[in-house]
């Protein structure tokens, strides 16, 4: 049980990056008229950045530095 809980918490930032940051980034792009690189859809761009930030947060144990 403790191990399952540990894995769940460990993956939290990635899930947060995909579930919350991705649509937030896409909405920001749309709201401020920022075009995504390589002609990507805003949501695809959000998913890449959100998942990337989430993975970095897991590895570095921080969102900030």
């Amino acid at each position: 049980m403790a191990q399952t809980i540990g894995i769940g918490f460990a993956l939290g930032p990635l899930l947060f990056g995909i579930g919350f940051l991705a649509p937030l980034i896409a909405t920001l792009c749309n709201s401020f008229g920022i075009s995504s690189p390589l002609g990507l859809l805003p949501i695809a761009f959000g998913l890449i950045i959100g998942a990337g930030l989430g993975l970095l947060a897991i590895i570095r144990k921080t969102w900030l530095w």
Partner: protein, 287 residues
């Protein structure tokens, strides 16, 4: 400052206890009504903002106050102050505690187990779950509050694992379930066109209130978190924002001496106990 000798200590403690007990009677109505108003108001923000009745910026301000104020009634519930453990209507105590915490979306069980460890090991660098807030300056404490909010930088999960008791294991499961539900709700809101409501009514207020709560509840009454022992690990202090602005923490020393006195009665208890606290040589922070 008076020095208390060993022969005086027993009498002093008895006097202290007798005074403190006068503040432990009766039902703390203010603390019980507080979450009914606070949590209900926070829940009602969602339809009001989503339907355009309330502007998002105003919802954000109210939500930040709501989330910041959601911890304290649960704190009284953690100590079984509303209805004592084992009593017939103890579920009322639990209901108040869980409902109060809805804006924070934190389980009462996790906070109770870890908070009791905080009381048991206040300012212990290894065992106090709040010790990651240790700092000698205001700036340092604010920085520590930001650090504590980063993935796996808090000590509550490791405290539950270290304890390994049935209550700690149950609390860990509650923590996991609540976190999963919270992520699911945020995700659903964000993917269904309500990302700004999710950010400004919940996510950002959570982040801001986390810094506020850690600063005023974990750090300020214990700073610099080096004192140990009943009369040394917690202090009174004068807050720039008053007692309400500091979530009642000016008198937190009373809570650590007598945890079953409701938060709303701590100021009066402090005034009544002040001569004894002075005799004990407690740090009363100019209050």
């Amino acid at each position: 400052m008076a020095v208390v000798g060993p022969e005086e200590t027993v009498g002093l403690r008895a006097r202290e206890k007798a005074i403190a007990e006068t503040f432990m009677v009766g039902f703390p109505w203010l603390m019980a009504i507080w979450p009914l108003v606070n949590t209900t108001l926070w829940l009602s923000l969602w339809p009001f903002v989503m339907s355009g009745i309330l502007p998002l910026w105003m919802g954000f301000l109210i939500a930040t106050l709501n989330v910041s104020a959601s911890y304290l009634p649960s704190h009284d519930a953690q100590h079984h102050i509303f209805v004592r453990e084992g009593a017939r209507f103890h579920w009322v105590n639990e209901l108040i505690g869980w409902y109060s915490l809805l804006p924070m979306f934190a389980p009462l069980s996790v906070l109770r187990v870890t908070h009791f460890e905080h009381h048991k090991y206040t300012n212990d660098p290894d065992l106090d779950p709040d010790y990651p807030m240790a700092a000698s300056t205001v700036g340092g404490a604010l920085a520590k509050a930001l650090v504590k909010g980063q993935p796996r930088h808090e000590r509550y999960g490791s405290t539950l694992r270290r304890l390994g008791t049935p209550a700690a294991e149950r609390a860990a499961v509650h923590g996991m379930i609540m976190k999963a539900i919270q992520y699911a709700i945020l995700t659903t809101l964000a993917w269904s066109g309500h990302v700004w409501e999710a950010v400004f009514l919940w996510w950002l207020p959570l982040k801001l209130s986390s810094v506020y709560i850690n600063f005023y509840l974990s750090w300020a009454p214990h700073r610099p978190m080096t004192g140990r022992g009943r009369y040394r690990d917690t202090r009174a202090f004068k807050s720039l924002f008053g007692n309400i602005g500091s979530s009642g923490m000016q008198y937190h020393i009373i809570h650590h001496l007598y945890p079953t006195i409701p938060l709303s009665r701590n100021p009066a208890a402090f005034r009544a106990l002040r001569p004894i606290l002075e005799e004990r040589g407690c740090d009363l922070g100019g209050l």
